[in-house]
């Protein structure tokens, strides 16, 4: 039954039409048209009461107004529920990922244009190097220089080739559970640490973590912890080679450990290259964690100042630069801020190219990973969808919604609801997704109703 409040509200539509001397007719056969037929006997000016009464009379073969309306509403709400589900669970996650990816790339391009793209990595003295038993192992070699060993591949070739993970674990175990635990925390993958060019071993040039792995590995061979190690060491030549590399590695670790201790006591921040455990990345500033955190907490330091240093000097260490950063962090923070202020805004052409390429790559990958679908057809839909007009960053979301919806769904409904939600979010002072979905759904229902009527004079 038509509610009185509904009829009263609807009078606003009729009044607005009357004001411009316009009338409505309905598309025959449409759901709204079918509902109108239930009121066909009502054609007198009888007011709201009469209209209400007529809505409970079976005016067509399909039933009363209430029955036909309930049936239609349920059917359409099911269609809408599917549209909302697809929009929410299929299309929207891809749209969000693409927009986030484009924005991240845009930011990276802008930051790299002024040299501010970089990371800060804090390094700490590994617990294994502070372990007394380990220090006892390396102490005998403290004066042995870091050397370059050539043609060592012949000694280790077959040994390493046939080495099982189990044998490697036996070799690098020290016999102390505490020390072995510290080793495993520092060297998480011994096999990959030993995967390098064994034709030439430059002890000074290798990252510290690799040198520690080599030391433990050779110590295991030298002390013949496995049968294969015993066989290798049965050759005097091999024994000499192993002993020399072992001593050189031990010497490097001892000196680095002592140096680490010294720089921490000095209060240095910028790490020296040889104390970095991995191969250095030129876009990363390596800092001593303990001193870096202390510098921030008590001496006015900041990550921005550290990034300003990286932008200006790279990650090279010198005493002077290190001291300037410690004592005058404001200078580097100003440098960071100044560069931030110069951030290049991408040109419209660059921005359009970036968004189109990113969206194309992302969706191509999504299609590639889909199963039981006609991939050729989907790629064709994507190619056509990418041709949607895109006029720059302000329109990124609507462009992405159009491309993803057109590629992954049929019709316009999913695209329309997502665009409408985006519009509502733009209109709201405070973002509220639930409210935006609610209003967008109302607008979509209103559009669907509008498509079933025609305005006539």
């Amino acid at each position: 039954m038509l509610k009185r409040s509904t009829i009263e509200q609807s009078i606003h539509i009729a009044d607005t039409l009357n004001y411009t001397n316009k009338r409505l007719s309905v598309v025959p056969g449409s759901p709204l048209g079918n509902i109108i037929t239930t009121l066909s006997s009502f054609n007198e000016v009888g007011g709201i009461d009469e209209l209400q009464r007529q809505s409970e009379v079976a005016g067509s073969t399909t039933g009363t107004h209430t029955e036909v309306e309930n049936y239609t509403a349920h059917k359409i709400s099911n269609v809408l529920a599917n549209i909302l589900d697809t929009a929410k669970n299929v299309v929207n996650p891809h749209c969000r990922a693409i927009v986030a990816g484009v924005e991240e790339e845009r930011k990276e391009k802008a930051l790299s244009s002024v040299g501010l793209l970089g990371n800060i990595k804090q390094i700490e003295l590994p617990a294994v190097l502070a372990d007394n038993m380990f220090i006892e192992l390396i102490e005998p070699y403290k004066t042995t220089p870091s050397s370059v060993f050539k043609n060592t591949y012949e000694v280790f070739n077959n040994f390493i080739k046939d080495l099982s993970t189990e044998e490697l674990n036996i070799l690098i175990k020290t016999g102390s559970a505490t020390l072995d635990n510290k080793v495993s925390l520092y060297i998480t993958s011994p096999i990959s640490e030993l995967d390098f060019n064994w034709y030439e071993i430059d002890i000074a040039a290798l990252p510290l973590r690799k040198v520690v792995t080599i030391f433990l590995f050779l110590h295991g061979i030298y002390t013949q912890k496995t049968d294969k190690a015993t066989t290798l060491m049965s050759s005097a030549t091999n024994t000499a080679v192993v002993a020399k590399i072992l001593a050189s590695a031990g010497g490097r670790i001892y000196r680095d450990t002592a140096l680490f201790d010294k720089v921490i006591k000095n209060g240095d921040i910028i790490a020296r290259g040889n104390l970095i455990s991995d191969y250095a990345d030129r876009n990363t500033l390596y800092v001593y964690g303990v001193n870096y955190r202390n510098w921030i907490q008590t001496k006015g330091g900041s990550p921005e100042a550290a990034l300003g240093y990286l932008a200006l000097n790279g990650n090279a260490f010198t005493n002077d630069l290190n001291n300037t950063l410690i004592n005058n962090p404001e200078r580097y923070r100003d440098e960071y801020q100044s560069r931030l202020n110069q951030l290049k805004t991408l040109s419209i052409v660059e921005d359009i190219n970036l968004a189109r390429r990113f969206t194309a790559d992302y969706m191509t990958d999504i299609i590639r990973r889909m199963e039981n679908v006609d991939k050729i057809a989907l790629h064709a839909k994507l190619a056509a969808a990418l041709e949607h007009e895109y006029h720059g960053s302000k329109y990124l979301i609507s462009y992405v919604i159009k491309v993803v919806s057109r590629t992954l769904t049929d019709g316009h409904d999913v695209k329309d609801i997502l665009l409408e939600i985006d519009n509502v979010l733009e209109e709201l002072e405070k973002p509220d997704l639930d409210y935006a979905i609610y209003i967008a759904t109302i607008r979509l229902v209103a559009r669907w109703l509008k498509n079933q009527v025609v305005i006539t004079n």
């Binding site: 009729a14 598309v27 709204l32 309306e69 239609t72 409210y435 607008r443 209103a446 009527v453």
Partner: protein, 71 residues
Amino acid sequence: MSISENSISEVTPVGPAQSKKEILTGKISACAVSLGVSILKDLIDTSKVSVPNTEDLSELITTAIIGELQL
């Protein structure tokens, strides 16, 4: 069934009398608002759309229809 499917190519003649046209306009408006409200209530009842407050659905759908009709 797609919600955007519709043809406006066939329109029922509504008779010559002006009053009949006005009555029909009133009926269509009332049925459109009522159907819109029923659809939204169905969606709300099945938790497909959450209602953020107690706004009058009839008023919201009426405003939205007027907007869509570009009156």
